[in-house]
Structure formats: structure tokens, C-alpha cells
Amino acid sequence: MDRRPWPDGLAAALAWGVAMGITAVFGLVLADLLRHGLPEISLGFLLEAPREAGRAGGIGPVIVSTLLILAVCLLTSLPIALATAVLLAEFSHGRSGFARLIRASLDGLAGVPSIVFGLFGNALFSLALGLGFSILSGGLTLACMVLPILIRSAEQALREVPSDYRRAAAALGISQAASLRQVLLPCAAPGLAIGVVLGIGRALAETAALLFTSGYVDRLPGSLLDSGRALSVHIYDLAMNVPGGEARAYATAVVLVVLLLVANALTLGIAELWRLDGGTSR
């Protein structure tokens, strides 16, 4: 049998080695981005418009477009996600057929590749609905994409509210709607916030779904029907289509990664607060 010590030592060494290797590669990627990107970043870079196809100037309009796409995405997906999560967590006793159908469909949606979202968004929002290449098309496409994450985390948050609260509300004789508004949603708020931040992270990271929905135009958008270039698309375009765009692509990548790290830290912070809070109130 495996009484000899050497396979144990080897396995442990391999596990440590792989973990250290992954950490090192990750560190290498980040260090490389920071080393080339940070020197390019200044207040001017964040505020100015790109010049010479992005080789010079900044990313001001790109940041504005990114935020607008994000806003459209969240404003449309959040209400639907919250309502669906409430339906699944609070109103689907046991395993009703309808709830199961919705869950299966959301699992399917979560697996759709991002380029397919791009095809779909282009066909439905840009062409069929006539929105063209616009911030609205891009935001709506992303809304479809982040829906499964938002719903899953909101449902989770609601399920973690102790059932005693529901019984207490029912015993007071208030309606389910009121109990939802006054008890369940406030209690689940931190969990809901985590879901929103996760959704934002996913939306910020997305590129392929935006190429053919919100488009490439790097001017400041005048309305939601204008095309607007997201940060991720800007990185892609500078890297692939603009000779000499590398330095600014590095800088843009740093901005994007920092935004994502902030979002990540935010989720951890909220989770930590929630845990402490839950510890005292339960």
C-alpha cells in the first residue's frame, strides 16, 4: 500500500508548486500591466478625449460610455432580477413546475458564450428594434447577460433571511407585499448589494458582446442612441487595430483592472460587514 512516504512528499510538493506557480503568473500579469500602464495614467488621461485613434489623448469619453452602458444594463436588469428572485425564493413553495422551468432556463442563459450574446444583441436590439449601434443596444445586451448572476445572488440573499422573520410578519397580520418591503428586502440588502457588484464586475469585463451592439465610436455620446466605446473595447481596438496604441492600451487595462479590483474589494467588505451584523442579530 501507500505506506512509503515519497508519494506523499511528492504530492505535497506538486500542490504547493502549482499554487505558487499560479500565484506567480498572476503576479507577473499584474506587474506587467502596472509597470507599463501606470506611467501613462494622469488626470488628463482620465478626462481628455482620445486623439489619433487613441494613440494620444485620454479615455474620458470611453469612461462616460462605459458608465452609461453599465447604467442601462443595471436599470433594466435589476428590477427583473429582483422580482424573479423574490418569486423563486418567497413564492415558489417546494419545487413548483414554473420555478423549475425558470431555473433551468437561467442555467442555460448563464452558459451562453458572450459572442453569442453579441450576435443576439446585434440581431434583436440593433437591427430588429432599430436601436442601431448604440449604448442602449449594448446595455440591454449586457442586461440579458448579467441576469442569471443577479438572480442567483439575490435569491441566495433572500434565502438567508431567517424564516422566523417571515412568521413574525405573518403573525402581525401584514400582507406579504408589506412584509417583503419592510422586512425581507431590508434584511437581505447586503446580499443584494453583493449581487449587484458581481453583476457590475461581469458587465465591465465584457467585450465580445459589445463589439457589435454598442460599437466602436470613441466620441462623447450625445444620447443613449449614440454608439459608445466601452473600456474593454478600447483595449481591444488599441491592441489589435492601432499600431503604436500599446502604451495607451496598457493604461486603459490598468484602469479597467483597478475598477474590477475595487468592485471585488467592495463585495468582500460587504460580506464581512454582513457576517458581523448577522452574528449579533441572530
Binding site: 501507500d2 504530492a11 500579469v29 450576435l119 406579504q176 467585450t207 481591444y236
Partner: protein, 287 residues
């Protein structure tokens, strides 16, 4: 009055639920509708029998052979899965059994972070750092190999996190029994933990494969995108996803429709993998 309010609420919730649930159907419907003209005009066989991929000429002069892209996708995804699987499982084992508790927690957080990094950032790093490195050895550097390496980096966190939760789902008693019988740590892992978690691990690997097939930006930026069946790891390739990203912008009529056919194909492959993966996953804790 109370009942009326609740009924109204439930109605609204059901409506939203139906909307959320129908999006995936809407996606399939739109893909099908847009793919139909090409499917009708070209039939089932020209996608693999045509002389080449020159889709701009319509049904007569155009050539619609998707097989170089299919092979490209298959080769890149297979390579990445083969490379990422042992690494991810080692990483999950480290997190679960070898790392001290705090270090393990920190490491898991790092892997989660890695899982959330944008594919365009991986692609960019691959383009400016990795491909020149490969190119110095074997020009041009933009190659199947670069695609496989970047994809490995991208699916590794996914598989690792899922593999870890599969290992975490193994009942504690198994580990305790193994310890009581005096098995060493590696023997416990090899003879008890891995076999007990095998369905969860397979599910994780399949999901990683699905992610690899569906990945666009990272592959697009490092593989060179030449439409040709690769003869070696160092040849450039174009995947199905990259093909859509490169051509949808100017594709018209039958060409555009053909791209939707490849989208449908992608969706089918990914759905199949995700479906099997879901079926394998140990009992869900819904409800």
C-alpha cells in the same frame, strides 16, 4: 384588500420571472431565424465540403467551409482542458488539504480574482508578452500554442474553484475514516477524496471546456486568425468565436447568416457540455 395587494404583487413577480426565463428562448429563436437563410440555401453538407471559407460571394460563388474553424476551436479547447485540468485539481487540492487555513483562504480569494479578470486583458497580455516570447523561438508567435496557453490561464480558475467545492462536498466522515485507518494524506486523497468527488470534478472540467469553447477575445488576440487547418502547435488558427468577432462587422446577407449558423453551432456545443455538467453535479441545494 390585503389579498388583492398580494395577488397584484404575485402577478408582477410571475411576469418578471417569465420575462427572465424567456430570454434564452429568445436567443435561440433569433439565432435560428438569422441562420435559416444560410441553412436553407446551403444545405447541411457544404459547411464541411466546400473548398474554403470565402463566404462573400452568395450561395453560388461563395465558399462556406467552416471545418478549419471547427478544428481550431476543438484543438484550442482540447489543449487548454488537458493542460488546465491537472493544474486546477492540484490547485484545488492545495487549497483544501495542503495549505494552512489562512493561506488557503487568501489563495482562494486570489483565484476568484483571477476568474473575474476580463478576457480582453488576458488577450492583451498574451499579445504583448506571450506571443513575442513564442515568436522569438518560432516566429510568428501568434499560434495555436499561444491560444492554448491563454485559454488555460482563463479556465484554470473556473475549474479550480468548482473542483474545490466538489471536494468540499465529500462528507467529513470519509476523511476521518481514512485517517482512522492510518492512511497518509496522499493515500486519503487518491483513494478516498478524488473517487468520492469524481462526478463533481468531471462537472467542473466540462464547465471549463464549455468556457474554453465560448471564449472569444483572448483567443482572438493571440492566435493569428488565419483560416487554415493547423498542422502544428505553432501554426496560426482561427476559432469559431474569433471568426464571428472578426467578420460580423461587415458581413452581409448569406455571409451574415452563415455567421449565425456558426453561433448556433457554438451555442449547441456549449449547451451540451453545460447540460452534462449540470446533470453530473451532486444534488443541488435548491429549496
Amino acid at each position: 384588500m390585503r389579498a388583492a395587494e398580494d395577488r397584484l404583487l404575485l402577478g408582477c413577480l410571475r411576469l418578471a420571472g417569465a420575462a427572465a426565463g424567456s430570454i434564452v428562448l429568445l436567443i435561440v429563436a433569433y439565432l435560428l431565424a438569422e441562420a435559416l437563410p444560410a441553412l436553407q440555401a446551403l444545405g447541411p453538407l457544404r459547411w464541411i465540403r466546400d473548398a474554403s471559407w470565402h463566404p462573400a460571394g452568395g450561395a453560388g460563388a461563395g465558399r462556406f467551409n467552416l471545418s478549419p474553424m471547427l478544428i481550431g476551436t476543438a484543438a484550442a479547447a482540447t489543449g487548454a482542458v488537458l493542460l488546465a485540468t491537472p493544474l486546477s485539481i492540484a490547485s484545488a487540492l492545495f487549497c483544501r488539504f495542503y495549505a494552512p487555513r489562512r493561506l488557503g483562504g487568501g489563495y482562494r480569494r486570489l483565484v476568484q480574482l483571477l476568474a473575474g479578470l476580463p478576457s480582453v486583458v488576458f488577450g492583451f497580455w498574451g499579445l504583448v508578452v506571450l506571443t513575442p516570447l513564442i515568436g522569438r523561438w518560432q516566429p510568428p508567435g501568434q499560434s495555436l500554442l499561444a491560444g492554448i496557453l491563454i485559454l488555460t490561464l482563463m479556465i484554470l480558475p473556473t475549474i479550480s474553484l468548482l473542483a474545490e467545492s466538489a471536494l468540499a462536498a465529500v462528507p467529513r466522515a470519509y476523511g476521518q475514516a481514512a485517517a482512522a485507518m492510518g492512511l497518509t494524506r496522499w493515500a486519503t486523497i487518491r483513494q478516498v477524496m478524488l473517487p468520492a468527488a469524481i462526478t463533481g470534478l468531471s462537472s467542473a472540467i466540462l464547465l471549463g471546456a464549455a468556457r474554453a469553447i465560448g471564449e472569444t477575445m483572448a483567443v482572438l488576440m493571440v492566435t493569428g486568425n488565419v483560416v487554415r487547418t493547423p498542422a502544428s502547435l505553432l501554426d496560426p488558427v482561427r476559432t469559431l468565436t474569433a471568426n464571428i468577432a472578426l467578420e460580423l462587422g461587415y458581413a452581409l446577407e448569406l455571409h451574415r447568416s452563415a455567421l449565425f449558423v456558426s453561433g448556433l453551432l457554438l451555442m449547441g456545443m456549449v449547451a451540451l457540455l453545460v447540460g452534462i455538467s449540470e446533470a453530473l453535479r451532486p444534488e443541488e441545494r435548491h429549496g
